[in-house]
Amino acid sequence: MNRIWTIIEKFGSIDRRIIYALVFLATAIPLFFNVRIPMPVSPEVKSAYEAMDKLKPGDVILISTDYGPSSAPETQPMLEALLTHAFRKDLKVLLMTHWRFEGLIMGVEGLDKIARKFNKKYGEDYIVLGYRPGVTAVMIGMAQDFRNIFATDNEGKSIESYPMYKEIAGPDGILNYKDVALIIGLEAGAIGNAWIMIVNARYGVPIIIGTTAVSAPDYFPFYQSKQLLGMLGGLKGAADYEQLLNITGFASRGMVSQLAVHALIIILIFLGNLSDIARRFRS
């Protein structure tokens, strides 16, 4: 029995390099398999899905990709899932960034990838407005006219020159929040608060936020008070959305990795506590 206790006590001081190796294997191995495990969809993701689903062909959505490569594993699958839904419904997509430039690179990558899948054409089905720093100033400027902030798109051409602009702008040629059916903020930080407090509160534009798992609790109060139509939190939020769309994207495959790592962490915690109990009983 003593030998068993000695072994159990050793579980309390596993070398962290072994832990790192196990985490690496638990994360990497599932990614080689194209597996999706069904799971209960969070209510806030379902609300976001329904809000998108209610839109009609030709409605305009504005997506703001305010995240960097560090948050991309969580928010990039959200972008791709939302764009898949948008292009399935023949919505018109405007893409912008106003936090860090990296967000635009990630946003354009995702948009190009999904647009190609649905044979969508630049200038007819989607426009990349580009990157403008300023957050509050940008949001307020866009309320009057998008051209105040984005006179030219990411390629340097006037946004009015595109056929899509003529379709979506008002009869007076002005494009502003009134012409946008839904704003989707994919946020790594706190800019989502600005979208809610400035654009939703002042101009009444419906908003969905997609954010990292760490920041998601910050937005729950807004969802609970119905200032947000829906919310996608972390990789699970993206996986839930993919499940509702019935596709197996990176998020769904990533959830298997997440399951493996969570299970590993639980096992390690379990062993650590077992070791503590063993030490206490021995003493």
Binding site: R16, A143, D172, N176, K178, R202, T212, P217, D218
Partner: protein
């Protein structure tokens, strides 16, 4: 497309569709005058324009247009189709109908003619809090002793610096990712000055990597001043206070490198942090350093609590400089926070009780009065 072409005169056209505006949409309605008509197409044009757009088709005699833009008048026309799709006839254009332009932007209202109405409740609260603040400030100035509980994280600073001295290791102070406009950073600089004073007394190195160049300048001054106050300005080494980068993970990588190379005896994480917090805190643990963190970033608190030996949570960070200086006047002002918190908690509890009772039909009038009170004050 010439919409006025009548291909063959076999169908009786609709005279003129009637249009009705309702809830932001237009209901276009017409009468079925020819039973041989198989379908209708409805077209729209803006008043004064010749650009005609098809908005829908139906076999019924009604169509609803929800795609109007406000501020513009529109006219509608109905095209009737015979059994053969090439046979059609157009109606006359309807009367113009326009969706009213919504007010853009804000029309602000003012209280007393000068104060923005939506910000007036903030002013009331600020005045109320200011009153409490100066009341306890005055009390402290008149010599009344004000109790403040122990803050373990701050008491541990001396222990941490002492441990570094015994080990012959330096102390590392890591700033957060915000600039001097954040009260967090100002508080962190004040704590840095205190630590510099302690470190100077023991003649060990104090390494201060910085994320923001303005904070770099403030840190240099704070450390210099702290060491001067300890009577040891000769211990000050400018090369130990350095700027790293303004990139989040570049900063984390730089700090990790410093921690792994220098193997400090004590590490302080003070300021506002983001996702890089655990990367740095865990590295500090792996090099055997005692770590003390202080942040108001609610999302990072769990990581610091798990990885660090002591953590200053939220407002403890703001109370730090008053606590360390033991200045009774500064400590007195902390009391005003506590009193305000108690009053707010009491208001929340009263509101919750009244709301719960009102659900059961008890004291509804009292609850409504309570709600009105908060509405008037903007709560």
């Amino acid at each position: 497309m010439n919409l006025f072409l009548i291909a063959q005169v076999f169908i009786i056209p609709v005279n003129q569709p009637s249009v009705q505006l309702e809830d932001g949409r237009v209901i276009i309605h017409w009468s079925k005058v020819d039973t041989s008509v198989t379908k209708y197409e409805v077209y729209r044009k803006a008043e004064g324009s010749e650009d005609v757009v098809k908005i829908g088709e139906t076999t019924d005699t009604i169509l609803i247009d929800t795609t109007l833009k406000p501020g513009m008048a529109y006219l509608y026309m109905v095209r009737s189709f015979g059994p053969d799709d090439s046979t059609f006839v157009d109606s006359n254009w309807s009367q113009p109908v326009a969706l009213k332009q919504e007010k853009q932007g804000e029309e602000r209202e003012y209280v007393l003619g000068i104060i923005a109405k939506e910000r007036f409740p903030v002013l009331i609260f600020l005045l109320f809090f200011g009153f409490l603040f100066f009341y306890y400030y005055n009390q402290a100035r008149m010599g009344k002793e004000i109790f403040i509980r122990r803050l373990a994280g701050l008491d541990a600073i001396d222990e941490a610096v002492g441990r570094s001295t015994e080990m012959g290791k330096p102390v590392v102070f890591v700033h957060g990712l915000t600039s001097l406009d954040d009260p967090n950073t100002i508080s962190a600089v004040a704590i840095l000055k205190y630590i510099a004073k302690k470190v100077a007394m023991y003649e060990i190195d104090l390494i201060v990597p910085n994320y923001d160049p303005l904070v770099l300048l403030a840190s240099k001054e704070a450390v210099k001043e702290g060491m001067l106050e300890a009577g040891r300005p000769d211990v000050y080494k400018e090369e130990n206070i350095m700027f790293l980068t303004t990139q989040q993970f570049g900063y984390a990588a730089g700090v990790n490198g410093i921690l792994v190379r220098e193997k400090p005896g004590a590490t302080f994480f003070m300021g506002y942090f983001y996702a890089e917090s655990l990367v740095m805190a865990e590295t500090a643990y792996t090099v055997g350093s005692i770590s003390i963190a202080g942040t108001t970033a609610i999302t990072q608190l769990p990581f610091f609590i798990a990885a660090c030996d002591y953590t200053l949570i939220g407002e403890e960070m703001y109370a730090a400089s008053a606590y360390l200086s033991r200045n009774p006047v500064e400590i007195g002002t902390i009391k005003s926070e506590d009193v305000a918190k108690i009053l707010i908690i009491a208001a929340i509890i009263i509101g919750s009780i009244l709301a719960t009772l009102a659900q059961f039909g008890i004291a509804e009038d009292l609850f409504n009065l309570y709600k009105t009170l908060w509405t008037v004050t903007g709560g």
